[in-house]
């Protein structure tokens, strides 16, 4: 099981270590630093490394490496999932997962790590259970604590820990009872030069924010549940009822949580909201090239496309860009060779266009690699797959909660090849 954890920042300093069994020297990380060196980019460090006596399994989150040391045969996914859970918990507690925040709250982080793992076995990873054991810091609480001398460590056994609904504590009380669901869909797509879809799929997620008193039992049903054939649920969802009736029946955790993830991959269901006309060319003679990009709406279901942004990783030889944008602004970062064109709202009457010349380094051959365009966009009040929630019912409690469903479509990994 998980033996030790090292937190390493992007400059390669170990700034926190935790051992759940015996103490392992920091020198074990040298193998990791070696691999880190070789990989050039931090994202490219292989997640599983073998050293003579240990295995190093790492993730890269928020410019930090979470590096775990393993001594026995252990499912690597188990470890990776757990490390992500650690990062999520830190994010949840302190609002962000960064070196500064961890250093500021080092003792709380350390207590959390101790609570999450025992002898390498996960102990409590549910955020609500953890929060009962170790309360997250808030300004109000720290003031109260200093005044009263109370601690921020719970001294009773969290009730959810052992019940059949470990994700929910009893005795939750709200004056305003509300349940909100966000259906968020991300389009992952690759379009080729001519604009034909090479590959497209939708990664959907239903994020919930539930603040309900007592032990409510919710049922969420969809207009068109047949869209969903590849789903994964929060443990609270009763799988049997989904199988038989295609409804989500569950006792919700308290607060924010991800109710379900789904995946729509059949081509015909994935609408591509925008089209991109582009030409990026470099001349054989002379150190320059041309760029011309136009974006227009395609299948937007009558909604407005917002937050439109194009990111291009230029070939190394490109020195500068002299362009004019009909809408929005563009920046070209010389160091990273990234061209960003921030467009904003897409106006179907007047299509945004970016045009101009690129200067390449004199004397170098024409760049071989074609840059890919990365598109970012947002469409409010639309789930591009067409998924719609039909109703939400609550059983088990008597009050009437506020209910709400929001839809949002975003571009995930949306790429246009040139």
């Amino acid at each position: 099981m998980i033996h030790s954890l090292f937190l390493i920042n992007h400059t390669g300093d170990i700034f926190l270590e935790k051992h759940w069994k015996s103490v392992i020297g920091r020198s074990v990380c040298d193998y990791f630093f070696e691999a880190r060196e070789k990989a050039v980019e931090p994202e490219n460090v292989p997640p599983v490394l073998q050293t003579p006596h240990h295995y190093l399994i790492s993730i890269y989150r928020g410019k930090l490496f979470f590096l775990s040391v393993i001594q026995t045969e252990v499912p690597p996914l188990f470890v990776i999932e757990f490390l992500h859970r650690v990062a999520d918990t830190i994010q949840d507690y302190f609002g962000e997962c960064s070196e500064g925040v961890i250093k500021d709250n080092v003792v709380t982080v350390y207590e959390l790590l101790e609570e999450m793992l025992d002898n390498g076995f996960p102990l409590a990873t549910e955020s609500n259970v953890l929060k009962e054991m170790i309360r997250p810091p808030t300004i109000l609480r720290s003031v109260v604590n200093t005044l009263t001398g109370a601690s921020n460590v719970g001294d009773t056994l969290p009730t959810g820990q052992l019940s059949n609904v470990p994700w929910r504590r009893v005795g939750v009380k709200y004056t305003n009872n509300e349940a909100y669901f966000d259906v968020i869909e991300e389009i992952d797509a690759i379009l080729d030069k001519s604009g034909t879809t090479v590959f497209a799929e939708i990664q959907g997620v239903i994020e919930a924010c539930v603040r309900l008193t007592g032990m409510p039992d919710l049922t969420l049903s969809f207009m068109n549940p047949r869209l969903l054939d590849d789903v994964s649920f929060h443990p609270c969802v009763r799988f049997k009822r989904w199988e038989s009736e295609r409804v989500l029946s569950f006792i919700p955790p308290d607060g924010n949580f991800t109710l379900m993830n789904y995946h729509v991959s059949s081509q015909n269901l994935v609408a591509i909201p925008v089209y991109v006309k582009q030409s990026i060319s470099f001349f054989e003679t002379g150190p320059c090239g041309r760029l011309d990009i136009t974006i227009g709406p395609k299948q937007t279901m009558g909604k407005t496309v917002e937050g439109l942004m194009v990111t291009i990783h230029m070939p190394k030889a490109v020195l500068s860009a002299n362009l004019t944008a009909t809408q929005g602004t563009y920046t070209y970062d010389l160091a990273t060779k990234v061209l960003v064109w921030d467009i904003g709202k897409l106006n179907p009457q007047k299509l945004p266009n970016l045009k101009g010349s690129l200067t390449t380094q004199a004397g170098t051959p024409k760049p071989e690699d074609n840059p890919s365009l990365n598109i970012d966009l947002k469409i409010q009040q639309l789930a591009i797959s067409g998924l719609k929630v039909s109703r939400l019912d609550m059983y088990g409690e008597k009050y009437k909660p506020f209910k709400g469903v929001k839809y949002l479509t975003k571009a995930g990994k949306f790429q246009v090849r040139t």
């Binding site: 170990i14 045969e73 719970g154 009773t156 470990p166 080729d192 993830n261 071989e368």
Partner: protein, 932 residues
């Protein structure tokens, strides 16, 4: 002040300051001080000097302070064991606390303090906590047993904690069950044969129930544990699959993958025509695809596993090609894995798409990735014949880009394409030759030289091209040098007139100026060939080469089977069996897939099922062998398949039984033992034992036992006993050759009957066999008759007649036979043990008088007795059965309701063995006295 309050340097002054604060009266100040200490500790500073002061803060009712002190203790107790003792009392007291949280915390922390003196005090509280009324305490205590085992394994066994832990598997709380399983699995890893997790249908049922209710992590433990179970039949297998499938929709990817492992394994047991089988296949695809939308690290592990799954069952993901398309911002490790899987899924149906993608990748920035993409195009050409032409033209397009490394990779793969489809695409050679100058990597140069040499007759200026390479001959790498030598010799054989000078030049370069023995030797061989017999040289050098096989990078089927059982583990990421890299490899059990229930037609899956429990060591352990023999004998031979693996209880029984029997074989063994030195001595009857060998290997008695045991051999033609085939040489140890076999005596001839199975990717030929010297002089009477080559996954049955006139040497155990088998790949060694009954000759019937005289002549201490239990045959049946195995009944007497059979047998080397068999009617137990 520093930015971070807790991050100031710990200098001596500060230690003093902290010391003062720790001893402060104010609670709040104390807590802040301990926090500072912990903060220093977490960043790796040494604050162990504060040990006594921190421990003093332990006696508190403030839980946070207590927890902080515990954190400190866990880190530093090891370095200050004497001081740590101070904490014991508080721990013991806390274990009695009314608050379950504190009880659990105390027992948990105590287990983390790896100090022997503290461990001693842990046992009592731990025992109580394992039976605590609160499940939270029980579940924490379960993990604590694993901790304790890690520190002191003996103590855990002595205290009986393992049994308590096993009881917890039946606990009412699913979380406790999950932790007990996790703890037991971890302990079992250091005791591979301890049978700690004794899985039977009842426990499986309990685990499946707990599976639905426990936490995600618990589900992983339980699923991994389930994967080690072998269901009894396809129905049980199906019902487990049905209960595991809902886990595929879990949000935790580790749960999903563990569930996939269970399903992939148990699916093997399901008949393929079952509807459910198809449903299950369909259900497996979506979760695997979903794994690919997770974080890149998770994707990587998932992809490595999908790579295995695709090789075993390509049908699962054959329609999902597109999800493996590479995005330009994928990390490189994900890109490379995706590419690999794309090739594996490539088929005629989707090849156009794949090629278009690969071409796209070949223009990317990342050099490693581009290279692999180009290579992938070549692999497509070799895998999907219909696409070869398109692949070649794509490669030509890429060569036109003149990007150096792309061109080089393209040339390397085109060479492979030539080897797969000779005389088809040679038209492209001209284009290749244009790029000769840009090649600077050895592999590409070697490939190009090979092409020039191979097709020298079509390239007008082949001699010039090769000559240009020759100029810098000594600077080239060995690979290129060897290739150049061969290519020029080929050229010479094709165009002898113009290239005489060139070939002489290269031969002298290779033989005289080179230090490389390989190069020199090859040079000499060519030289001699060319100078003595040019025709022969032509036959050798220009011989038709075998086509290269379709996929050279597939994992060998046996390894793949094992890896499928390890889905989701490190083994699956490295694609190596755990024994190859797990630390110390403490007898890691090889896992095999269970055989399909309805697969009587495929012998090798059947045998795989048979041995799934037995360790496939080359020399079977004695206990197992015995267990096997006895087990088979005592049950009527109704099962046509291999015998069920013996349970440990059975083995113990066998050992007991033989315990008594050992002595009885003294004489026989002793004679055998003497034979090593002087075979002639064995001719007389009952040579008196001169020395008692200290111990006797059980398998010999096992052999005899088989005979007296009379159970099985009903349907055998001669009635001679022959044990079932067992695996002598597992494929893992012999580069894919698996040998299973047995010995039999058929029509007076001893035969070694073997099944040779080829589990490797290539054809095996040229089999030969040899024995080491052995106790009874066994030797092959003729060569091994394997006339046809054995193709991949093919089996062949061979019977090898044996003679007993070979050289003699006493073996330990006596009936051990060491065998060497050779094939075109290598020589492999294994040893096997033959039943001694095979050596009883047909003329072993002694005259009555002689028998009587001999019986009396043999001193009493040569006699030994043992019992055979549970044998339901009357004396006549027994006698006729034994006769089938050349054990002859000389006389029969009935005394006090007991039948006494007097029997004789003669071994191939002339030794006589006399026996008295006492059969009591109605009593299934026989008593045998043996003398010799």
């Amino acid at each position: 002040m520093c930015d971070f309050p807790f991050f100031s340097l710990v200098c001596t002054g500060e230690i003093f300051e902290l010391k003062a604060e720790l001893n402060s009266d104010k609670k709040e100040k104390k807590k802040e001080a301990v926090k500072k200490v912990i903060a220093s500790m977490t960043v790796g500073k040494d604050v162990s000097a504060l040990f006594p002061d921190v421990v003093n803060c332990m006696q508190t009712d403030n839980l946070e302070l207590k927890k902080l002190v515990y954190l400190y203790l866990m880190n530093y107790a090891k370095s200050q064991p004497d001081m740590a003792i101070m904490a014991v009392n508080t721990f013991v007291k806390d274990c009695e606390d009314p608050n379950p949280l504190i009880r659990a915390l105390a027992v948990r922390t105590m287990g983390c303090i790896r100090v022997d003196k503290i461990t001693e005090y842990l046992c009592e509280p731990l025992r109580k906590c394992l039976k605590d009324e609160d499940p939270y305490v029980r579940k924490t205590a379960a993990v604590c047993v694993a901790k304790l085992h890690d520190i002191n394994a003996q103590l855990v066994e002595d205290q009986g904690f393992l049994d308590t832990l096993k009881d917890l598997i039946s606990d009412s709380n699913p979380m406790v069950v999950a932790n007990a399983v996790a703890a037991l699995s971890e302990i079992a890893e250091s005791h591979p044969n301890s049978n700690l997790l004794d899985l039977n249908p009842q426990t499986i049922n309990k685990l499946l129930t707990a599976l639905n209710e426990c936490t995600e992590w618990g589900q992983i433990f339980i699923l991994d544990c389930l994967a080690n179970y072998t269901p009894r039949d396809d129905r049980e297998s199906q019902s487990i699959c049905e209960r595991v499938t809902p886990r595929l929709s879990h949000a935790n990817s580790a749960v999903v993958l563990s569930a996939v492992k269970v399903l992939m394994k148990f699916m093997e047991m399901l008949p393929k025509d079952l509807d459910y089988y198809g449903t299950l296949l369909k259900k497996l695809a979506p979760p695997l695809v979903t794994l690919l939308s997770a974080e890149p690290e998770l994707q990587y592990v998932a992809l490595r596993n999908i790579n295995l799954i695709v090789q075993r069952r390509p049908e699962i993901l054959k329609h999902e090609m597109k999800v493996f398309f590479v995005k330009y911002n994928d990390p490189i490790y994900v890109k490379l894995e995706k590419l690999d899987i794309m090739i594996r899924l490539a088929s005629q149906a989707n090849i156009a798409q794949v090629l278009a993608e690969l071409k796209e990748y070949a223009t990317e920035v990342d050099v490693d990735f581009v290279r692999k993409a180009v290579r992938a195009i070549g692999r497509c050409a070799i895998k999907v014949e219909q696409s070869a032409e398109r692949c070649v033209s794509t490669l030509l397009d890429l060569i036109q880009t003149k990007v150096n490394y792309v061109v080089q990779e393209a040339i390397v793969v085109i060479k492979d394409i030539f080897r797969k489809y000779p005389n088809k695409y040679e038209s492209v050679i001209a284009t290749l030759c244009e790029n000769l100058d840009s090649l600077d990597e050895p592999e590409a140069r070697a490939a190009m030289i090979w092409i020039v040499g191979e097709y020298a007759e079509r390239i007008d200026n082949a001699d010039e091209l090769l000559e240009s390479f020759l100029e810098g001959f000594h600077d080239e790498s060995t690979q290129v040098q060897l290739q150049l030598l061969t290519a020029i010799v080929k050229l010479f054989l094709k165009k002898p007139t113009e290239t005489q000078e060139l070939v002489q030049q290269v031969l002298s370069l290779a033989t005289q100026d080179s230090d490389n023995p390989d190069l020199r030797d090859r040079g000499y061989i060519y030289w001699r060939l060319l100078s003595t017999d040019p025709v022969a040289a032509k036959e050798v050098v220009l011989a038709e080469k075998p086509l290269i096989s379709e996929e050279t990078d597939l994992i060998e089927p046996t390894l793949l089977e094992e890896l499928i059982c390890h889905i989701g583990t490190l083994a699956s990421v490295y694609h190596k069996p755990p024994s190859a890299f797990v630390e110390g490899s403490r007898g890691v059990q090889h896992k095999r897939l269970p055989g399909s229930a309805g697969s009587a037609d495929s012998p090798d899956t059947g045998s795989a099922a048979g041995v799934s429990e037995a360790p496939p060591a080359v020399i079977p352990s004695q206990g197992d062998l015995l267990g096997d023999l006895l087990n088979l004998d005592l049950t009527p031979p109704t099962t046509s398949g291999p015998p069920p693996a013996p349970s440990s209880g059975m083995q113990m029984g066998a050992m007991d039984l033989l315990g008594g029997g050992l002595d009885s074989l003294v004489g026989l063994l002793h004679l055998g033992g003497d034979l090593g030195g002087s075979p002639a001595m064995g001719a007389g009857f009952g040579a008196p034992p001169t020395a008692m060998p200290a111990s006797f290997p059980p398998p010999v008695s096992g052999g005899l036992d088989d005979l007296f045991d009379l159970g099985g051999s009903v349907g055998m033609p001669m009635g001679a006993y022959s044990p079932p085939k067992s695996i002598w040489l597992p494929a893992m140890k012999a580069k894919g050759l698996e040998i299973s076999g047995t010995f039999a005596r058929r029509a007076g001839v001893i035969q070694m009957e073997m099944t040779l199975t080829n589990k490797a990717m290539s054809i095996m030929t040229d089999f030969a066999i040899q024995f080491n010297r052995n106790s009874f002089g066994l030797a092959p009477a003729g060569p091994l008759q394997v006339l046809t080559p054995v193709g991949p996954n093919q089996s062949i049955e061979v019977a090898l007649p044996l003679s007993t006139v070979g050289p003699v040497m006493k073996m330990e155990p006596l009936t051990n036979l060491q065998v060497a088998v050779k094939n075109n790949i290598d020589v492999f060694y294994f040893s096997s043990q033959y039943p001694i009954s095979m050596l009883f000759v047909e003329d072993g019937k002694m005259e009555r008088q002689v028998f009587l005289a001999t019986w009396k002549d043999i001193p009493n201490d040569n006699e030994a007795q043992f019992q055979i239990k549970d044998c339901h045959l009357n004396s006549d049946a027994a006698s006729s059965k034994l006769q089938g195995s050349n054990v002859f009944t000389i006389a029969k007497r009935t005394v006090e309701g007991q039948d006494m059979l007097y029997q004789s047998m003669k071994l191939t080397n002339g030794i006589w063995v006399l026996a008295e068999l006492r059969v009591q009617a109605g009593n299934p137990n026989y008593t045998v006295s043996t003398v010799s």
